[in-house]
């Protein structure tokens, strides 16, 4: 019998590619870009007909993460509007209280955040990877992992003519439901409490109407995050301006949403009718409705980032940072994906693509914002999604504002302490709890 050829021998020796990257979202394209630049052979497998076609976010991309990766990225990125005004709104059914920040500095390069839609942004980023030499297979699902006799991951099966793609490393950038991470035993099959459901409506409005209503002009845009709009279900809402559409949506904790038996569309409908939101949306028409999960558990729910022949980046590794006024995932996906690609390059160079050969990836992320922020804010999701913050504080703060702003003549003005005590009592919060939560908040965010 002839010697087995390299092609039939199992194991990484027979790899056609240095890396298969599953998913052409921000994590996958960044990983492929890093690998292609390093001269490694890399193929991206994307199940949608084009990158971004399956992806949904709020959305604002915080682009500074791109500075080091794509010089002058803002010159050709498909931006809708540059965010120059950021607002956090706390609301009850009939009240709202906002902290509103605006600065012209965010309206010039290198900018702070941009609204963009994923069909265009993800396509743009994937093109950076293919221009650098990565291959992109769209309309192809990675249906499972290939392993060698030792259980090491050596590639993926696909549904494109049942083709198998063999590689030294598989970088699973397959997003929040990551079935590859589940198959590898890195993520639990289903753990609803770590996830929120995001639903979003994109509404058409003429560009000048958006400019006028939101007080912006040209390419300026607005980002409003909202607390207290989810009928007590842990979560929040958002309203973002695009060029000639606005995105309005809510996120809601999965187990609580299910238990409350409230349809997610009802939560959006509530928000759209709120007296502080409705005037922005008057006369708009529905362009698209979409839904997607978010991994909101944070640092403590992150899976191991690598196993033999495989690593995770972006949402497959639960890297979205969701902590109150922050809902950031795209920047975390890009940074982790790029770092994963660089780690694969080093591992391939050293000839060790086992978990220990890939361990430099985690070490790298621990030096970057990706794991530094997550570690520091590890207790933030629990605080932000806690009963008091979700169900009592928005109303309490609104009543506090009402107490301070309402002119009660001929009665004299009440003191701040009395207003606070009354508002707290009305919402069933003890001053002691308020002080404790403030301290807790300062410890987590300070």
């Amino acid at each position: 019998m002839a010697e087995p050829t390299m092609a039939d021998a199992p194991g990484p020796e027979s790899a056609e590619f240095d890396a298969v990257v599953v998913g052409a979202g921000p994590a996958g394209s960044a990983a492929a870009l890093a690998l292609a630049r390093a001269g490694r052979s890399v193929v991206m497998v994307e199940r949608g007909p084009f990158p971004g076609s399956k992806n949904v976010y709020g959305g604002v991309v915080y682009g500074r993460v791109l500075d080091a990766i794509i010089p002058n990225w803002w010159e050709d990125v498909p931006v809708e509007r540059w965010v120059v005004r950021r607002s956090t709104m706390m609301m009850t059914e009939s009240q709202s209280l906002s902290i509103d920040y605006r600065t012209g500095a965010w309206g010039t390069a290198p900018y702070n955040g941009m609204t963009t839609v994923r069909s265009r942004f993800d396509t743009w980023l994937a093109a950076k990877a293919t221009e650098a030499g990565a291959r992109l297979l769209t309309s192809t699902v990675a249906t499972g992992l290939l392993r060698d006799g030792d259980g090491r991951v050596v590639g993926v099966r696909t549904d494109r003519d049942h083709a198998e793609l063999r590689s030294r490393v598989v970088v699973a950038c397959d997003g929040v439901n990551s079935f590859l991470a589940k198959e590898a035993g890195l993520l639990p099959q289903s753990e609803a409490s770590h996830y929120t459901l995001g639903v979003k409506e994109v509404l058409s409005l003429p560009r000048e109407v958006i400019d006028e209503r939101f007080g912006v002009q040209g390419h300026e845009g607005v980002d409003i995050e909202i607390l207290g709009c989810t009928r007590g279900i842990p979560g929040g809402g958002f309203l973002y301006t695009n060029t000639d559409t606005v995105s309005v949506g809510v996120v809601a904790s999965l187990p609580h949403l299910a238990e409350a038996r409230i349809r997610p569309e009802e939560l959006i409908a509530d928000l759209k009718e709120h007296p502080s939101i409705a005037p922005y949306l008057r006369g708009s028409s529905l362009r698209e409705y979409a839904a997607h999960l978010i991994p909101e558990g944070g640092y403590d729910t992150m899976p191991p980032l690598a196993t033999d022949g495989m690593m995770l980046a972006g949402d497959s590794a639960a890297m979205t940072l969701a902590a109150g006024m922050w809902l950031e995932g795209v920047n975390f996906a890009i940074a982790s994906g790029y770092a994963a690609g660089q780690a694969v390059d080093r591992a391939v160079a050293s000839g060790d693509c086992t978990a220990s050969g890939l361990a430099s990836y985690r070490a790298d992320l621990e030096r970057q914002f990706v794991l530094v922020d997550h570690k520091r804010l590890r207790k933030a999701p629990a605080l932000v999604l806690s009963d008091r913050v979700q169900q009592r504080y928005p109303g309490l703060l609104c009543d506090l504002a009402e107490g301070m702003f309402t002119v009660v003549n001929p009665a004299p003005k009440p003191g701040g302490l009395r207003v606070t005590r009354n508002a707290a009592a009305k919402h069933g919060v003890k001053l002691r709890e308020l002080a404790a939560d403030t301290l807790r908040g300062l410890r987590i965010f300070g």
Binding site: R47, G48, P49, G52, S53, K54, N55, V56, Y57, V117, R118, S119, T138, S139, T140, V141, T158, D159, R160, V176, N177, F179, S190, E191, A192, Y195, L197, V199, V202, N242, T245, S247, L254, P255, L257, A258, E259, R261, I262, R263, P264, E265, L286, R287, E288, Y289, A290, A291, H292, L293
Partner: protein
Amino acid sequence: MATVDFRVGARAHITVDSEVCRSCTTSACVTACPANLFAPTSDGGILFNYEECFECGTCYMVCNSEGAITWTYPDGGQGVVFHHG
């Protein structure tokens, strides 16, 4: 959902075993599915249609009965296409 682009494949990428649903105490899928695809039937089962699914994963995450939902992605290129995601 007239405003969403669905490229419906021939294969049902999600199937629901209505037998299992009959003994379900929560029917969590019915209200949580953002596409409203789970319809309770008079005999306590579930009628499901995969065609206008967002592929979000909510249903298998909130379902409390092992084996009720078989969940896969649609074949490559098929299913929902978001243009403003």
